[in-house]
Symmetry: C2
Subunit: 149 residues, 2 copies
């Protein structure tokens, strides 16, 4: 027991970093300045699809200083911690998706951008049995669309 007054915890809506801090803590990640900033950008804005490059540009625009290498590392740490999902489509570009539900993607061929397909809009039947000696890890469906026409 201390003689000091306990500070009254404010509800997290009033402390912008509190939610991010809690999520990082729950994921077993230290709340560093850069992880908090990225967590806020990614996890408090609804569903998002970002590339490392794009997120880095976003932090720069917001006046947050983070190196591109740290953005890459952090995105992978978040993915390993189950806060993000990595989506590999199109050539040589990884997207990170904040939507963790089981879902699939539209791929816009011109821009390489992706977008969620509303849940329940794709049904797969007759899934083939995995080849001998293998087990199913997941199924990805990519619906490629062209802009215009």
């Amino acid at each position: 027991m201390t003689g000091m007054t306990e500070p009254t915890p404010k509800p997290s809506q009033e402390r912008p970093y509190a939610r991010a801090h809690e999520r990082l803590k729950a994921a077993g990640l230290r709340s560093t300045r850069q992880r908090l900033a990225l967590a806020r950008l990614l996890l408090e804005k609804g569903d998002r699809h970002v590339t490392a490059e794009g997120l880095h540009a976003e932090t720069k625009a917001a006046g947050i200083r983070i190196s591109l290498a740290t953005v890459y590392n952090t995105l992978h740490q978040f993915t390993d911690a189950g806060l993000l999902r990595e989506v590999v489509v199109g050539t040589g570009r990884s997207w990170f998706d904040t939507n963790l539900d089981d879902h699939h993607h539209f791929l816009f061929e011109e821009s390489g951008r992706i977008e969620d397909i509303p849940p329940g809009r794709i049904a797969l039947s007759d899934l083939p049995a995995p080849p001998d000696g293998t087990s199913l890890a997941g199924v990805d469906v990519v619906v490629r669309v062209r802009e215009g026409s």
Copy 2:
């Protein structure tokens, strides 16, 4: 008319490059030494999935001298000409598939290798409508499997 004897054309089975030559010609591509060699490796051995790197190694092992850049360029020319299909899965690696039929792939996560899923083994229903202003370009299904267990 010449006094010379016309050489009797042999059936193409006996002239290993004849078929490849005809396919290139039909595709509007000049029959260069390297295109013929690659066409034979790719198109006369049943269904194949190759990477540029892998195909380059194969030519080297066969004593055929082709630069890696030319292998890349040729694979793309063949793809543009409709002789091959490019399959992008996993990170930063393009596969070229000699199977032009509409079909999908297993992806072996450890090795990054792909394999055709037997036709008719996947049925998609309830395909979502392409977003406004876009038209459907194709649907790719990747069944990811893990080796072992």
